[in-house]
Amino acid sequence: MPPLHAYLLLSAALFAIGLAGALTRRHAILVLVGIELMLNAANLNFIAFWRYGARPEALTGVLFAMFSIGIAAAEAAVGLALIIAVYRHFRTTTVNDVNELRG
């Protein structure tokens, strides 16, 4: 069994990668993908802490991760719908080009 900090480091790495992507990529979909990655990193943390925590039989981490997955699904759906709506409006999916609120 790898020690806890291995998981924590992995999670931090994933979070950083997601952050880097969300900050640097111009494509709206990729920004969303970066955010998803960050959420996943958080999930990994939950599960790792649950497994290495004091009372794993309480299942708190697992349940939290499940709620998080559910919310991530909702977020992805709304996010992508937004991207499609924006694309329809501006005919672009590059976040830099969408710089005004009025169409």
Binding site: P3, Y7, T24, L80, R88
Partner: protein, 167 residues
Amino acid sequence: METAFYVLAAVTVAGAVAAMALPRLVHCTLCLAVAFVGLAGHFLLLGAEFVSFAQVLVYVGAVAILVVFAMLLTRSADAPPAWVVSRPGLLGVGVAVLVFGCLAATVAGSGLAGREAPPAPEVTVKALGERLMAEYVVPLEVVGLLLTAALIGAVILALEDRAKGGT
């Protein structure tokens, strides 16, 4: 176990890096799916069977597919490859590295770091279900509500133009 962890970790990180760095959007999505599968493997290793399968079902089966669909609908799949290398891009990477450094330092500095796992608990679906239905019934309902709201919201967003009178 250790080997499995390192292999999976390598797959996950490689998938994530590729998902964020590859020039073509479709490749990014596929690599993202790989990263998700790797994470599911980690969950399995950690004994959270149910979450692992849910992860695959939701992330690979739904989110990745949604991304693919959004790509097809916005014609981004055939968009010209775009590299990350630019000045604001480097800035973003710098910020990310900084964040990672902070997190890593915190992890290394905390007392938790070397902790070993207690004996694996038995996570049955039944136990999960009972928790969800008893202790966590309010959050469950809230998530359900949220999902419904998101579904309706997404549909309305996607239908917007026709409502506006698309001839």
